[in-house]
């Protein structure tokens, strides 16, 4: 493959100011089960080459055939396109030669079909024992290989595997339906996957659905609210990670997921309370979005997105960094060989503090603790957001009391972060697939944080 890539690179060197070629292959398997019935197994095997050229503008091409004539046709078209009108900001650094892998000890290719099915069956049976009428379980893994080269002398080879698990559970009582979704994921092998403790976490989630569905609604009004690491994670992802992707701030994603409330602001911009900092870090071993180098050959590193209540660093790809006038910081991710790299998150989390969870609760007279969530969404500038609790409790005089059903926070990003007065010393993560771009690219992420206390939040 390197030989073929060298030939492409040679053509790019002659025809462009800067060029890249990226080969990626992946072998994946997915099995699923619905209400105790096995639904089948699907395998996927994909590979192809992405080419990028910079001249008066930027052109990219993607091809899954290794017919040299067809590849040359694509490269020629990419070069022709790169001479048309358009923007041509692209950070062109290189000279990095490295290899990395994240395959774990128990390799995904050694996972037997029967192992996958046994896990799903055991979880299905456990869900059934908790009276769930809807039980969907799916397990999937993919082993990927990537070779990245550019005309500035970089050559980076990587091999990594990711394993994911997805479940939906539903408890039905007449017309009332209480549902829960969970996703788990890791980069590595089955040993890393076992560390996720999927069975126990799903049982913790589903065992109370019946009680939750029978619980009363909270009286609408203002409460002090404590959110769990799970809610902290989705908040960090949606209202910090996305609005600090520079390609959103600059408008490149404007017709899709939108821009950012940070567009046109002076930085650093005050987001909220000084007790809150949010980090994005691709280098956490075993995390679902782990990588050593991004898909543009830039070394990954930890980034503070919000630091002590102020914006700090933005997430950059080569293109966005060039347009902003900084060095890229390892945020350029492409979900597969046929996708352009975009500024993306990996593991995004609120930084823990030094109080215990109990200390957070103790100091609440009239509040609500939201442990898990269901519906959520946010507007296209990442400012107006909603999180609906699934498992939630009243807090009275520093003690957790009875359950409340579906308390909803509907607020703004600045109000949310400004209302935080304490964060706990816990740190937990959950997995997600983050969508962005067109064609839409789902990339693997973790999100998390500590428990977080907010004062005087309106609950509907």
């Amino acid at each position: 493959m390197i030989e073929l890539m060298d030939r492409i690179l040679e053509k790019l060197e002659k025809g462009s100011k800067y060029g890249e070629v990226r080969y990626m292959s992946g072998e994946g398997t997915q099995s699923s089960m619905r209400n105790s019935e096995f639904q089948g197994e699907a395998t996927s095997s994909g590979e192809g080459i992405a080419v990028r050229a910079l001249n008066e503008s930027i052109g990219m091409g993607f091809i899954s055939s290794f017919d040299l004539g067809k590849i040359e046709e694509v490269v020629d078209k990419v070069l022709r396109n790169s001479h048309r009108n358009g923007r041509n900001g692209l950070f062109t650094s290189g000279g990095v030669k490295d290899r990395w892998d994240a395959l774990g000890k128990h390799k995904v290719e050694d996972i037997q079909s029967s192992d996958r099915i046994e896990l799903m069956k055991s979880i299905d049976e456990m869900m059934k024992s908790h009276s769930l009428s809807v039980r969907i379980n799916a397990i999937y893994h993919r082993k990927s290989k990537q070779i990245y080269q550019n005309t500035s002398g970089s050559l980076i080879e990587s091999k990594f595997s990711r394993i994911g698990y997805f479940m939906v559970g539903g408890y039905k009582d007449g017309n009332s339906f209480e549902e829960i979704y969970r996703q788990f994921g890791t980069t590595g092998g089955m040993d890393n996957f076992k560390d996720l403790n999927v069975y126990q976490k799903i049982e913790d989630t589903v065992k109370n659905l019946k009680e939750i569905s029978a619980s009363p609604s909270a009286k609408p009004g203002r409460y002090d609210v404590v959110i769990s690491p799970e809610i902290a994670g989705i908040v960090a992802h949606e209202s910090c990670g996305h609005p600090t992707e520079w390609d959103r701030i600059s408008g490149r994603e404007g017709s899709l997921a939108g821009e950012s409330f940070l567009t046109g602001k002076k930085y650093p911009y005050k987001i909220g309370s000084p007790v809150v900092s949010v980090i994005d870090d691709p280098t956490i071993k075993g995390s679902y979005g782990y990588y050593k180098y991004d898909d543009e050959g830039i070394k990954a590193r930890k980034r503070y997105l919000y630091r002590n209540g102020m914006t700090d660093e933005f997430i950059h790809s080569r293109e966005s960094a060039s347009n902003y006038g900084v060095e890229p910081n390892g945020g350029g991710r492409a979900s597969d060989w046929d996708m352009e790299p975009l500024a993306r998150m990996s593991t995004t989390y609120i930084e823990p503090g030094d109080q215990t969870f109990e200390e957070l609760i103790e100091d609440v007279k009239n509040g609500i603790y939201i442990k898990t969530y269901t519906e959520w969404n946010i507007d296209d500038i990442r400012f107006n957001e909603k999180y609906v609790g699934s498992e939630a409790f009243l807090i009275e005089n520093g003690k957790l009391k009875g359950r409340v059903r579906k308390p909803a926070i509907e607020t703004t990003t600045v109000n949310f972060y400004s209302s935080i007065d304490a964060v706990s010393n816990e740190l937990e993560f959950s997995a997600g697939t983050c969508g962005k771009g067109d064609p839409e690219q789902g990339v693997e992420t973790w999100m998390g944080g500590p428990s977080v206390r907010l004062r005087n939040i309106y609950i509907s």
């Binding site: 619905r34 089948g40 590979e47 519906e375 607020t411």
Partner: protein, 434 residues
Amino acid sequence: MADIDLIKRKVGKLGLDSFVIRIIKSEVEQIRFSNNNVDLRNFWVKEGISIFLNSGKKLTDISLDNDSDIEEKIDRAYRSMMGGEDSNTFNGINPEKYNSIERAREREKSVELDDIVAGCVEGARDGGSERTTGLAYRTFTDDRIVTTFNEHHVTYDDFNFDVRAFNGQNTGQEGIHFSSVEKNPVEIARNAGYEAGKTSSLKVPMIGFEPGDYETLLSPYVIGNIFSYCSSLFSAYSVEMGMSYLEESLGKKVASSSLSLMDSPMNLSGSSYSAFDDEGTPCFDKKLINKGVLESFVHSYSTAVAAKTKTTGNAGIINPQPIQLSMENGNKAVDSMIQSIDKGLYIKNAWYTRFQDNRNAVFSTVPRDGIFKVENGEIKGRISGVRISDSFGKIINNITDVSKELKNVKFWEEVFPSIMASAIVSDLHVTKAF
């Protein structure tokens, strides 16, 4: 490039009850632009090979990007399938033999994608936009399917684009899909750009808003978003699974009599036109809701056998889905629908629809790109920071009027390619952030 006959010979030697081989070759061009300038030109040459194997109650599905080591990959999947579990809910693929469909659509060569982008930007500027962002695609597809029982081959040529106009904080957005039967793509782009620009530049003040239930005119994009996200309610697979509140409602009134909703895969104007489904059953148009009455779920052969009915040509072999939703139009122009509202809202786009109860389709979605307060039949001002928080069942029961204009709408992953009307919904629950 993969040879379908070679794959057929290989699969034929396995002694299966049934198989499906589908090869979709595509050439796709894309231009992405923002703030009136081109960011990137993308070009794809792709080949998607999907192979479905079935023996008794055993099945497996293989997806490949090319034919390298294909025989070995088929053998591996076959061995894993035969050593694996039965799929007891599977009832086979459609064994009926149909006339082979051979349809080659002329490849449109006279249209340059750059001209469509220029049409979007110029149209938006003429409509009053300060800056314009979006993307445009043209796709040529060669789609060939061979099953144990049938064989078809078609080619398609289609376009779609999104254009979003910005005017300070105000925005307008249009997203259109169409096939090469449309003779003037650049004009379509220009008109869409103009409409987006006009929405962004409409000179009305920003005004306050109180949460509550409002008579609301929803644009084809908002209606398309809701129907796209709720389309799985019409899948027989969702019904089997217990995830559709419509499960006992066939033949019953589930919506206002103003609503007729179709699945229209044969509508040639749209980019989701499909001649056959994933198991080689020829597609056909069908009513899902006819004047408020639920007329059909969508089926593959397997789900149809379970439900003791006939396939609707909507495979997904395991999980059938509507292919190209469309609405029957009404009688009123959009302008006169606005004039009919005494006190209400007009919402032109929505995104990020998420459910707290998928079975009963209880959800919220976030309006964008033109949210207006209407009083005495006139647009009085813009509002912001609001959310539609309601349920599908209530919304379709509360449709009081449907526009005569239909639009081929598509917006990113938010609105599937569909042909939608505007509709007035009474008592739509709208909330806001505190």
